[in-house]
């Protein structure tokens, strides 16, 4: 992945934005917020409104997606469950982000996942396909065959030296991660970084061959979403990743550029399995943090908390 180049571009873009070049953003009040850059935003509210607000507070989607670009959205639609189970990303969150990308002129928006259960059922039951049906240029797809994946090397990999990931995210596209907040029986929680596993071909080896936490940190060194929007409108506080389990309703949308920070904040929003945890207590997050992939101590971050 050509990550480095894009980071520079983004920074340059932000400078330009700060210099006050109007970019036709709807609602100019957001702009003042964009100037004041937050590490994280946590917006409380209904899925659509909260997602919109979170995007705005992050500086607008145009900070991440430029006209003519191709965008990959990665929600969690791995389970054939309706959204009230809390095992999959809320369809309205996905649709809202897709709509936002469209509004700034994205050429093509792919909503992708490699589902765990039967793809057809996942697309249908999660409601994500239905929610995106009428948005032009948006394609909700599951890639269930090896031919759609390509092997890449992981230079910083500790247990994982190479991994087959979706070709679509290799070709210089914008990747926006849209995980759902849920518990996970092997990794504690499944948030943004764990959600990256939906972009690779061979998930099984993570569970059987490697230390899954270490492998996830390895994976996070090569797949770096430009933006993570964590859907914590519902949180599956136990019984994850597939549910059924206890579904709590934090009504939160958490967005940020730093994947570790978003996840770390996500850990704090509900008690998991009836107990409160911090990001540091989640092994794969701690490992990702220690490898310089992001900040884990949320009390040192600048966070915008708002209700819509």
């Amino acid at each position: 992945m050509d990550q480095h180049d894009r980071m520079i571009t983004r920074r340059r873009f932000l400078k330009t934005a700060a210099a006050g070049v109007a970019l036709g953003l709807s609602g100019s009040s957001l702009f003042s917020e964009a100037k004041e850059e937050y590490d994280l935003v946590a917006i409380s509210g209904e899925p659509v409104a909260a997602t919109r607000k979170a995007i705005e507070a992050m500086g607008g989607i145009s900070r991440f997606v430029k006209k003519g670009q191709r965008v990959v959205l990665k929600p969690n639609m791995s389970f054939a469950r309706t959204s009230d189970f809390g095992a999959t990303t809320h369809p309205l969150v996905v649709a809202t982000v897709a709509q936002a990308c469209l509004e700034v002129g994205a050429k093509q928006i792919l909503v992708l996942d490699h589902t765990l259960q039967r793809a057809e059922l996942c697309l249908e039951r999660t409601g994500i396909r239905e929610a995106c049906k009428n948005i032009p240029g948006v394609h909700v797809l599951t890639l269930q065959d090896r031919k759609f994946f390509r092997e890449i090397k992981i230079p910083q990999g500790k247990v994982l030296e190479r991994v087959e990931i979706m070709k679509e995210i290799l070709d210089g596209q914008v990747l926006i991660n849209l995980p759902v907040a849920k518990s996970h029986s092997a990794t504690g929680v499944s948030l943004g970084i764990k959600g990256l596993m939906g972009l690779i071909w061979d998930r099984e080896s993570f569970h059987t061959q490697y230390n899954i936490n270490q492998a996830l940190a390895d994976l996070a060194t090569v797949i770096k979403p430009q933006l993570t929007i964590l859907d914590a409108t519902r949180a599956l506080a136990s019984g994850g990743p597939g549910g059924p389990g206890e579904v709590k309703k934090p009504n939160l949308i958490i967005a940020g550029v730093d994947p570790v920070a978003v996840d770390s904040y996500g850990v704090s929003v509900v008690p998991w399995y009836g107990q409160n945890f911090k990001g540091r207590q989640v092994e794969h997050l701690l490992m990702a943090h220690q490898r310089g992939l992001g900040k884990i101590d949320i009390d040192q971050l600048k966070i915008l908390m708002e209700k819509v």
Partner: protein, 547 residues
């Protein structure tokens, strides 16, 4: 005209076959060709000894045959259409080898019919072996369908660069899951054999073997439309040569009415235009109305044969084991004995199965279980949001159930094979069965210092997600056995499950037990080896049975 109708019918058959899939609307009779087949209906009704609602559709065919004649074979039967079409493709220009003892051979199909019917009377469903509708549906399911999917995927792969260049996103990512079946090769061999027999005479199958044709030929001479030859006939015998069914005897003015399928080829080839197929109540047309030369001995032999086959196939150790059979049957399958009698082995359920877990049996439950559906849960689980197998079952050997009813139609219970389980045998950290279980029927409890999986039988409905996902190589360490399956001929599965105190509903269950090993670093337990949880004695506070 005939070819047109035949093609339409074959296309309809194919379309209905394609529609037999997940999301089939309740009202849509995807199995209509099988329902219309009077032989399958008769077979199932006789063998099961009760009236089967869907089998009554066959009365339409019977009625139409009584009115019109044996038109079914020429115009409707998709098997006949396939035979005609493939015959045209492969054997059109070949010299046929021909047969000598025509009249004797022709009776074969009647003997077969008698064998099948008498076997059904004894309680053995056997007609599926040779019924054209069941045979063709099986061939479609086990051979054509997987082949077509392969070809479509190949085609998509070839054109993928083009789709990508054109920016057709959906097409450039399209890929169909490949269905796979046991017994594809056997099914192909049988079908191939039937087609190859055309080398001897055209429509060899229809002339000599098809038991459905035999059944229809018993009543078809009563039909209104008949072949009639007027005085212009000069006995050139062109009609005799052209008749695919061999229904024109040496005196071409006569007709073997049971054999005539009213394809009207003879009328077309007749240079004198002496042949007509007009409707009339009078029996003025000359020819044979019944198999007059059908010998009593032949009848007795085939009757005895059928009864003997029925006896041999049903009186086996398998029969004694039927209440303790090992096969996981589809949810909603009626009790095993009745199931074997009612199932017509069309393969429609296996075609429609969303996850491809339904597979045909070979000898697993004896001859009487040939081609019956079983779940191969190591291959794929039974999807809880799908109930299509019952919907498409033409004899309702698998009952058509609502999703909620189907959830309660427990097909078995998972058991852990501790000697193979990574956690039990090797103290490894593995939670996959628990993670994947849709009903939280698997819990972890501390035993000897480790959290180990247990199955709560009353919450397990046998869907097999655990068996399929178990990471142990080869055979799974958690397998679904038929223990606890619910097989009801009638009545509500929900009620039955309640009566048995079973509960298949999403429930958080005992998930609190897995906290320590769920990837969180629990601080209090960080100090070295103390993190191993203490063994909780599973003993309740009071002895069992006391409140």
């Amino acid at each position: 005209m005939r070819k047109f109708l035949q093609t339409i019918s074959l296309l309809f058959f194919t379309a209905f076959f394609v529609f037999a899939t997940y999301k089939l609307p309740d009202w849509f009779p995807a199995d209509i060709y099988l329902r219309l087949d009077p032989l399958l209906g008769l077979n199932a009704v006789f063998a099961a000894r009760e009236i089967i609602g869907r089998a009554l559709w066959a009365l339409i065919t019977i009625g139409a045959t009584l009115v019109i004649g044996r038109f079914f074979c020429a115009y409707v039967c998709p098997m006949g259409a396939s035979i005609d079409f493939l015959d045209f493709l492969f054997f059109r220009k070949k010299k046929r080898l021909g047969l000598k003892s025509e009249a004797v051979l022709r009776k074969t199909k009647l003997f077969l019919l008698i064998i099948f019917v008498s076997a059904a009377l004894i309680g053995l469903s056997l007609a599926f072996l040779m019924d054209p509708m069941a045979l063709l549906t099986r061939f479609y399911t086990f051979f054509i369908y997987p082949l077509v999917i392969t070809l479509i995927n190949l085609f998509l792969d070839l054109l993928r660069p083009l789709f990508q260049a054109l920016g057709w996103i959906t097409l450039s990512h399209l890929h169909y899951p490949q269905p796979v079946y046991y017994m594809s090769a056997i099914t192909l061999l049988i079908f191939g054999g039937i087609i190859t027999l055309n080398l001897l005479t055209p429509r060899f199958w229809c002339r000599y073997l098809c038991p459905l044709g035999a059944l229809l030929s018993l009543i078809s001479p009563l039909g209104l439309f008949k072949r009639r030859v007027n005085e212009d006939c000069n006995e050139c015998l062109k009609c005799q040569k052209a008749c695919a069914m061999g229904a024109v005897p040496d005196n071409p003015r006569e007709t073997l009415f049971p054999e005539c399928i009213q394809c009207r080829t003879c009328a077309k080839v007749c240079p004198q235009e002496a042949i007509s197929f007009s409707a009339s109540f009078s029996h003025s047309a000359g020819g044979e109305y019944l198999y007059t030369n059908f010998s009593r001995r032949g009848f007795l032999y085939s009757l005895t044969g059928g009864l003997a086959v029925g006896f041999l196939a049903t009186q086996t150790p398998f029969a004694l084991r039927q209440s303790k059979h090992q096969l996981i049957r589809p949810p909603g399958a009626i009790p095993e004995t009745e199931f074997l009698r009612t199932c017509i082995r069309c393969g429609e359920c296996m075609k429609s199965c969303l996850t491809n877990t339904l597979q045909p049996c070979l000898w697993e439950s004896g001859f009487s279980g040939l081609w019956t559906p079983k779940l191969d849960l190591r291959l794929a689980p039974c999807e809880q949001n799908c109930n299509v197998c019952g919907k498409v079952c033409p004899t309702q050997a698998i009952r058509s159930l609502s999703l909620d009813e189907k959830t309660h139609a427990k097909i078995g219970t998972a058991i852990l094979r501790k000697e193979m389980c990574l956690v039990w045998a090797q103290n490894k950290l593995c939670l996959i069965c628990d993670e994947i279980c849709p009903y939280n029927a698997i819990v972890f409890r501390p035993v000897e210092g480790y959290r180990r999986p247990f199955v709560i039988a009353s919450k397990c409905n046998g869907c097999g997600f655990c068996e399929q996902r178990c990471p142990v190589r080869g055979e799974s360490a958690i397998v679904v056995v038929t223990n606890g399956e619910i097989r009801l001929k009638e009545g509500s599965y929900i009620k039955e499950a309640k009566k048995l105190e079973l509960e298949f509903k999403p429930d958080p269950g005992d998930d609190k037990f897995i906290l320590e090993e769920s990837g969180f670093k629990v601080e209090e337990k960080k100090e070295g080896k103390k993190s191993v949880p203490k063994e909780e004695k599973p003993q309740p506070k009071k002895p069992k049975g006391f409140l």
